[in-house]
Symmetry: C3
Subunit: 661 residues, 3 copies
């Protein structure tokens, strides 16, 4: 997996088909110019039909066939689908959900990933597979498992109960410290011993928020532990980079998992109606690994997704091509379909593929051919450029998500909040990056921290270092109003941030539409949502409430600290005001002086490696024709011709690569 | 139950009332001209209050009272409501639903009908009852149980688990054959022994579709086995015909059950808003028993249905009379109310009846009187005619339903699809019959096979025999695209049908509204739904896609085979095009040359036995006045006067019997 | 708690805060003019962290601090939140809900209140607390527990099963009497022994309505028994009045509980959109205790309610003040916030309070200050007047509710029906009281009995005594149509009432909108709902059906009996007709001759103790300005000035006290 190498491919299931069919399919992939196959993630019962009875014939054969055809391979460990011998007569190994319902064999993820016997067998199968894999140098990556916790969340089995008590003891040392941290005197929740602490199963009303937060954290850490242990087994054999195909909706902490593996990959089936989610998805994973910035898109559909209980929606013609362009423009190094040949059995028969179960071209086949052409054209352009490193960062964090999962107030969902926030940066053509909490801020000029109910001490320290060095830290909305255990602060309404800002008082409440109004930067905005208003020295006030409710309270604070600026936004503001704020604090990072786009036309900045000049990779992710404005002549790299300054139209799903001449 | 005898009556519950009340009610029934009482289906605890302690006093008394009054009786076995002694302290005998919830005593159908002790006791009570019943020659039928599986579906108890494994072993012989048939290599589902095969209880995502299909089939077969065994017990005593009051929504395979009993009966509470469902209901059961074509309507309401959690909607005045007319016109030999005297206890207190718990006339009483009059008038007309045997058949099948239950795609429901399909035949006045898969096709000219994901080999063979002999077989939409185990075909997209048609390729996907358009027979139609498009020799093409999506693919194929025609419709088409197709292929079977009706006026063709002439029994099943056109003079049999050719209006719920003079 | 003393205060949680914080808060309460603190209801684990290890330091300290500051106290027993030692390793003590789901520690009400060990420990902690409490004479009341059954309903644990059988045996003596009373011959439900009677857990369809009704009654009685036993423990120590903070939605029988305690209290969080519910709430509890008429409002919010899964809606400015005025005007003697200092942990962090967890003023603080002022102003006015005793009574009954819970028909909810019914009295300015079934009717002139499916013999006897003495008893709609076991009557459709009226026949059914129409008192009304129509001697007919459906049946009957009048309304009528009926039968009890108000302006009549003159306490509970008309000059007591006859406007949430000069 050399630098700037890009991949185009599909997932294959050699365990499901005859050798003849697999030869036909690999030949077909080669003809399509594909250079990547992903395989193995569900094949445990083929590789080990009964305990310790290993058979990797199918794996080796596929590795041979792909090698002969110049197709690189990602080999996956098959741990999401344990064979029947792992759970038959062993209900205690099965996953138990939040309703105390025990899962059964027959689908995926039905086992508790914390079960010691499962882990033992998972490491053995991984170990055995790697003995095969290390013989092939065209295996470009190992994928762990498949979409961790895409179907299930936290497990409530008896084994987890014991681990939970252990985990708590490790974290708190004494149960009194736990009681203090969680505020368990409320409702007589107090525990006298760790082994009394409940798993948050059914109870008449809502559990303590600290209990819920910790149980989730416990489960996230245990999964990261499983990852770490499996990585250790694999690394004994070779140095092939290890990845995982994650997703934004899964009940995991991606940063924790990223810390254990070599690079992040992801799956996405976003329809054009949510193009901004598709783009954010491209940008969510790149900096989880601060060092290598490698990301692969490992699953997307040629046409539609779906299963027997949901017939998916067929993409518009052109959309898949636009997705592929976006993927490579965004610095993602692979674009891979799920799946090559349609599933004949199971429950995903009605899912788009390259060819059908009976080998005919599917409705998505034309798109596949077009992406083949595009892939050939982009390869050289990609190899000569690199995604420009943005100086504007937005923290995206599953830890922040867990607070909002806990306290949604009946209205909030972290992913939706972040999508809407991020879209404003797209609309403004601000060159941005999404970063995890642990991101190295030394290269960041402006950091946004929205929707983070709690700021860890470490995060604050690093952000303040950035501020002192001249950066801008924009905090809010809905940030720093809870402790790390999801309690209220008791010193002031905003904890450490409150001290940094020097607030005199704070008040928080949820405003309905029209209940509270504020003004800032000459813009009047309704302030609908869970807002925190403060009293503070008027020198620092940048936005004040104008409505009778909360009259004259402050909702925007700006304070110079060291060489930089700390900005606090306490309220949810209108898009108009939020765009003004982004422009005010991060406007230097736009490309609007060179070119301007309509909404739904997304731009990625890439730098030519030799000249150091910027390129603008544009894609129209809408069903409509859109207009763009060039303020200076630019070179159209896909057609090798100069485009003079002026107005151009971009057809639906069309794209452009523009370069400074 | 002589030939052409028709019945009018009600269900009675002598076990719930004093002797005085029952005498009053039977007298009342007699005064109303009723000649049918149904009784016994919930009276087990009265007949056998403790094990082996039998008391049939109430049954015998009712049989005496009815006999004296000339009221024929249907006696039901009381197996839907096992007494408390069958389940007290025996939770293992109780029905367990798909959420693994165990039922309790106190309602109906709370026991597992596969439990061996339950079956033993069911046969004993049936046996003992028949000793009483056989002494009365006015018992015209035995009803088994009541509305099998109207409240519950498949059972997941431990006993069923063992039976499931037995059933699988019988079906597949070796577990490898099962694995191959089900494609269990997917997701490592593979089983190494039959006793490992799970019951499809909770799992993180969807179970294998073959597993789901087979578990349903297993349960359906076990219920048919219960029927067969109970029938054998009863037949030892007498030859009274055995029936069951079924319904379209119950989780059973009616064809399987029909094979074990003498004739089908059904219950219906359809409101006028779904008059087409009421009519289809009349036509669903007649040919399940190919030999005798006897059907009874055993439950309908005098006014409204309902229970304590749902107050039903009161029928319009006139609707019940129109229902009764439709029932007899359609060849159904009984029209019977549920129930005569309102329930004083239980949960169905708010359900319409003939008289209330306290003996007063209910709001439905006027309707009852009107149907009494109608019944008197129709008796001679019915006795002189017989429902004309249609030559156009539509296959209606619970086996087909089980595939769509399994794969609804989030959009499909078999019953709704069939109702809409059947309604087009009503609208076009095509004389049609609904037939089971096993129907003898020798008397069929045109066979429609819609919504049958899988066609069995036997069905195809018989249909092709019909084609070769000169018939037309119209296949589709959504037919033959899955194997008998609910997998994709791998030879071609349509399996055996694909071979018969000689298709070159096939592609299937779900089209949203507006995504795909086609043209056939001069009509342009949106093709919304799960469609299969094929490539085939242009000689056979009758309809092609015109939209960019799937451009030029074929969706209607017509092929002459032997003396007949095989037609394949791959797509869901507009009503306009579907009506054109029906008219094209089955238009010879309409009566529109004699008379034409508006929608909602339904016509049944009956033949005078002596003259062999056709009669047209018309009923306006709408709230509005409707117009009909006579193209020639016809005799109005209810008024004994000639109606000249011309236009007539039919008031809401009015009806006519027209005969060739 | 002297006569006419009124209270203003808040709930406090000294077990959650440091001594410093509590001193600060009690000082603050004193400054705010508050004279009431409620505490202790969730503090069990603080008072008894391990079994028999008692520590009342926090309680004593708070009692000292409040005493010093002149703040009276309500001390609550902490039984809603048993410490972990009560349930750890003892799942059999936990509450089991109707889905057979066992609760867990960590929230509230997770234990079965019928568990003998729980009860033993509950009485011990209550006993120990009272030893402390009795030393303080500023403890003005003891509150039992907190909002009994606000989160859970009936319990289905194994222990309850045994108690259920015992309870049934006590009630019915023999199982045959139970079978007869419940009509269990239906569906072979018949029981041969009490220990066979099921708890109404999952069953395929609906349980017997008598079973459901009795299980609910059993649970309600057991809870009343818990109350009675706890009261006995407390009363051994002192005579401090005992109360409970109830609510209209809880699964309890408030009249039963009222019989065991000294006075009723209630909690309410009603928003202005349902101001009529807020007012009805004020009037629901006063006469539950016929003797003392003491009521306290113990919980309402300063601003909004809510929890982590629901951000509440912020009240309009002025609404809390209007609530406080309404509360005191309605004769309720306390207005107390939940809570003083916001919860830092648990799940109710986002709930309005007086000060936040960090001690800042909340968004509700201004309202708190305004109510402080109002409280000072009202104190003397309240002390000189008393709520006038209405002569018009409406029966409000949890027993009646239980019938409608059982048989909602998919459309009815008792509370909503009663709110709509009661609102008509508000709109008409009829001076009314809500009374329990057991209310002493000797002071009542007109009694309304709506929505009481069953009238007990005792109730009928007392109502008929009132009628004979000259009163008017207005019965219906939806009253007396079921037996006390929720069966139909079998003698006539209305049982004892039917006999009293002398009806000839009755028919009941549910009319959809537009299906049935009637006329009475010159008004034509649609009769939508579950109606009973009767045939009766025309002398008694006051309203007849005019539609084809049920043509000429009677829906209003009026019969003179003794010196009074018995009126029966069988149908749900329009508001217009219902207002006419109320005016006709209770119009003498309005104040419209003195003054008239718009809807949403609510009036309470209070009598000056010295002069015996009437005062009118008016409050505008709407968001809009409203108009009122004085027909004569009246003294404005809050401004000490005469208001001449004429029209006045009342701003949103404004209020007035008007007195005869």
């Amino acid at each position: 997996m050399g630098k700037n190498k890009i991949f185009y491919g599909a997932c294959v299931y050699p365990e499901l088909w005859s050798d003849e069919v697999m030869v036909e399919d690999y030949d077909h992939m080669q003809r399509l110019g594909m250079n990547l196959a992903r395989l193995g993630e569900f094949a445990w019962s083929t590789f080990e039909p009964t305990p310790d009875n290993f058979d990797f014939t199918v794996l080796e054969r596929s590795l041979e066939l792909t090698k002969e055809r110049g197709i690189d391979v990602i080999v996956c460990t098959p741990t999401p689908t344990p064979p029947i011998w792992l759970t038959h007569n062993h209900p205690e190994r099965l996953h138990v959900d939040e309703h105390n319902t025990r899962m059964s064999h027959g689908s995926r993820q039905h086992i508790c990933t914390n079960n010691p016997y499962f882990r033992e067998r998972a490491y053995i199968i991984a170990d055995k597979m790697m003995e095969v894999v290390k013989k092939y140098d065209h295996v470009v990556a190992i994928q762990l498992d498949n979409e961790f916790k895409c179907h299930v969340g936290q497990c409530f089995c008896e084994n987890c109960k014991g681990l939970w008590h252990e985990w708590l003891e490790n974290k708190y040392q004494t149960v009194d410290l736990l009681n203090d941290a969680w505020g368990t005197d409320i409702w007589s929740q107090r525990y006298n011993a760790f082994d009394q602490v409940v798993q948050p199963l059914a109870t008449p009303f809502i559990h303590n928020s600290a209990l819920l937060l910790n149980y989730k954290r416990f489960q996230h850490e245990k999964l990261a532990e499983f990852v770490k242990e499996q990585v250790a087994v694999i690394k004994k054999h070779h140095d092939i980079p290890i990845t995982h195909n994650t997703g934004v909706f899964f009940d995991i902490d991606n940063e924790m998992i990223g810390n254990e593996i070599d690079f992040m990959s992801f799956d996405t089936y976003t329809p054009v109606e949510h193009y901004e989610n598709f783009v954010m998805n491209q940008e969510t994973w790149r900096y989880v690994k601060n060092d290598n910035r490698q990301v692969m898109l490992l699953e997307t559909s040629t046409s539609y997704n779906g299963h027997v209980q949901n017939y998916g929606i067929l993409h518009d013609q052109g959309y898949v091509e636009a997705e592929a362009f976006t993927t490579f423009a965004a610095g993602t190094s692979a674009f891979s379909y799920w799946l090559f040949r349609g599933q004949r059995s199971g429950c995903e028969q009605p899912h788009g593929s390259v060819v059908s179960s009976w080998g005919d071209k599917t409705i998505g086949y034309d798109s596949v051919l077009k992406v083949s052409d595009l892939f050939k054209k982009l390869k050289p352009l990609i190899s000569q450029t690199e995604l420009d490193e943005p100086k504007v960062a937005i923290t995206y964090s599953d830890r922040a998500r867990s607070f909002i999962d806990n306290e949604n107030g009946g209205v909030y969902q972290y992913k939706a909040l972040m999508n809407a926030f991020h879209k404003l940066f797209l609309d403004l053509n601000i060159h941005r990056k999404l970063v995890p909490e642990g991101h190295d801020l030394s290269q960041v000029d402006v950091l946004f921290s929205p929707y983070m109910h709690n700021l860890s001490k470490d995060y604050v320290a690093r952000a303040m270092d950035m501020v002192k060095a001249g950066g801008t830290w924009f905090v809010g909305p809905m940030t720093s109003d809870r402790t790390s255990e999801h309690l209220w602060h008791t010193d002031n309404g905003l904890g450490e941030l409150g001290e940094l800002l020097g607030i005199e008082s704070a008040v928080q409440f949820y405003s309905q539409e029209g209940q509270t109004t504020g003004e800032a930067f000459g813009i009047t905005s309704d302030l609908k949502g869970l807002n925190t208003f403060v009293d503070i020295d008027t020198d620092y006030v940048k936005g004040k409430v104008t409505s009778e409710t909360a009259k004259d309270k402050t909702f925007i604070v700006e304070k110079k600290i060291g060489k930089g600026t700390l900005v606090y936004l306490g309220a949810h503001v209108s898009d108009e005001l939020m765009k003004e704020l982004i422009t005010h604090y991060a406007g230097a990072h736009t490309i609007n002086n060179v070119l301007e786009t309509s909404d739904e036309v997304v731009v990625f900045n890439r730098t030519e490696e030799t000249s150091g000049k910027l390129q603008y990779w544009l894609v129209n992710l809408s069903k409509e024709e859109k207009t763009i404005q060039l303020h200076q002549p630019l070179m159209d790299k896909l057609n090798d011709q100069i485009r003079q300054a002026g107005s151009y139209t971009l057809k639906a799903y069309d794209y452009l690569v523009l370069a400074h001449d």
